[in-house]
Symmetry: C2
Subunit: 372 residues, 2 copies
């Protein structure tokens, strides 16, 4: 049955919905801020995994999209999206070969390197192909996950500059460890500290080569803070588009960070079990609502005193907290802001796009499952 | 590139592999035990979400398959599988309508009911259609998630028996709350206590109607225990086929429960980041290895002192524990027993099937994402 034109409350559950007006507001707000600061926005597609949403971001003014993995980039390129930056370095010949195939389809592709062995892998693939790949040197600014430590960055820079197959365009410095620091002042200080190291490397790089014009970093938790860093040229924020309970929970300064982004993404789930005391069972469990990032937030205003918790693979438990809490009936549909949008989106094949509570479109989550 | 014939260590990662010999051993072992006890096996497909694996279970002697949701059952029926029991009750007209459509395709379908409102929903859909649906009354034996409490079971039984569209075939009594109790004796006692209540209802039911021949229950954690319950007629275990670190961690009596099932399912992940001290970064994070059920178990014998932990959506951290631990190099592939097989399988589109380390087949995970 075509869901278009129907009320979202009639959808079969569990399912994900996006309020198009809220999404559009989020996209415009972030783009306006970034543009006002004279920077570029290259939003991360790992959050929404949807090329239709990516195209909205481009239409709003983004210079391209970030992809976490080569397979995500493949889907974005298949959808005709230009300016894709793959934010994770490749470490095997198989992945370097996939990257080369992708580069044949679009020259606007950009990758990162964080180790001499990775540079060698790419050179080996590209040698003699007539192809040249734009790369950023990925810096570890404190997360200790990927990236070269700043002290070894220039050594790697030299290695890349000596390469005939790679063209160094700048640096990447994502501070993943600071995005969810609860207190605003702490998060701000941690982000500025992280980016300061990267800025020093970037300045040195620019003295060496004026063609190095990209300093890509930041996330939804620190975007407003990071816009004040003069050297930064582009932001990689992703979650601002859909938002989630984890980002809604961090403290925000008025007008800064997350406070202006509203939860466009929600999960609908139905009460399928009653008669078990002060709780009901709903049809969204681990497989529909990823257990990560804290507690999801129940939106139905008629049930103010209820709380969701996971109840196995297929079910959730919605319990009364406090006295006098009304419990929903069997068949009642509840709406939740998900805990952590990225891995939850990755559980579904499409978004139901709504406006004023009516379904206006269905968008495939075409990057879903692309973790390679 | 066709992966068949290649070494599993050459696969692009992250990916899921199944060792066909271990899988076959697990299937044969469980089936032999269940058959020896004079019971039937209707394995749960929610674990593996793969109709090809389901067909192996049928070939080994299973009487049918369990499906958690209507959408899972749809995929099994599409693949030509008979004897599907949907273990979760329907609670909305939309879901009842899907169930009716499915019943038109296969009369061997069975559903559960746990509330008079659910009975009414099904009756309303089926009335005048000429269709009749086999149902089990689902009992809550202590998990308080789904099912009718035993004290109200006979009331619901009467309601079903009065229906012209439903045919009562027996009961279901899954004790989900006891499957992972760590100590064997505690788990055994809890399971027998749970099934005792159900057995009493089943005996009463059989006195009322000899056509009620099904008492379906149990899981991998309690299968051997439950086989000794005389009233029980069929087992719904699922995880025994693939196994996971969570089930491997529970205490087992020799020859009982999980000790004879070995991890057929593993996840391959590649080292993509080094140079961050006594740890390396691998390419499987939240989106490839579901964070639930405890710590995954690293199998590579050349790295005995390493431990996996999650490191964001896309990455994992493999750290040295204890002195003298060797760290893997960039590009090294590591093999893990996943924490909780069900939600992890649900993150991928196919299994690479291996034998002696070589890929012999690729099976679609065709029930993936079917959480409705």
């Amino acid at each position: 049955m075509d869901p278009k034109g129907r009320s979202k409350w009639e959808l079969d559950t569990p399912c994900l919905t996006i309020d198009l007006d809220l999404l559009d507001d989020n996209l415009q707000t972030m783009q306006a801020r970034v543009s006002a600061a004279g920077k570029a926005l290259r939003p991360h597609a790992k959050t929404h995994k949807c090329s239709m949403l990516a195209k909205m971001q481009l239409a709003a003014g983004a210079v391209g999209l970030c992809a976490a993995k080569v397979s995500e980039a493949e889907a974005l390129v298949s959808a005709g999206i230009e300016g894709v930056l793959i934010t994770g370095a490749v470490a095997t010949p198989a992945k370097a070969a996939r990257l080369k195939s992708l580069l044949r389809k679009t020259r606007s592709l950009m990758a990162v390197v964080d180790h001499p062995a990775g540079v060698e892998l790419l050179e080996k693939q590209l040698s003699g192909s007539g192809l040249r790949l734009d790369v950023l040197v990925d810096l570890d600014v404190g997360h200790h996950r990927t990236g070269v430590v700043p002290g070894k960055a220039m050594e790697l820079v030299n290695r890349v500059m000596a390469s005939r197959s790679l063209w160094l365009r700048g640096i990447q410095a994502y501070a993943g460890h600071v995005q969810h620091i609860p207190r605003y002042v702490d998060r701000r200080a941690a982000s500025l500290k992280a980016l300061k190291q990267a800025a020093a490397v970037f300045r040195e790089l620019q003295r060496r080569d004026e063609g190095c014009t990209i300093f890509s970093a930041s996330g939804t938790g620190t975007a407003a803070t990071d816009l004040a860093v003069p050297e930064l040229t582009e932001l990689q924020a992703g979650s601002y588009a859909l938002m989630d309970a984890e980002y809604m929970a961090i403290e925000c300064e008025d007008g800064a960070e997350c406070s202006d982004y509203r939860p466009a993404l929600t999960l609908l789930t139905t009460v399928v079990g009653v008669g078990h005391g002060r709780q009901v069972t709903v049809d969204a469990g681990l497989k529909a609502l990823y257990r990560d990032g804290g507690r999801p937030c129940l939106l139905n205003s008629e049930f103010p005193k209820l709380q969701y918790d996971w109840f196995g693979d297929e079910y959730g438990k919605v319990s009364a907290v406090g006295r006098g809490a009304l419990l929903p009936e069997l068949g009642q549909v509840l709406e939740l802001v998900v805990s952590h949008c990225d891995p939850t989106v990755n559980l579904f094949d499409h978004f139901y796009i709504t406006r004023s509570g009516k379904v206006v479109d269905v968008w495939p989550i075409d990057l879903r499952g692309r973790c390679q």
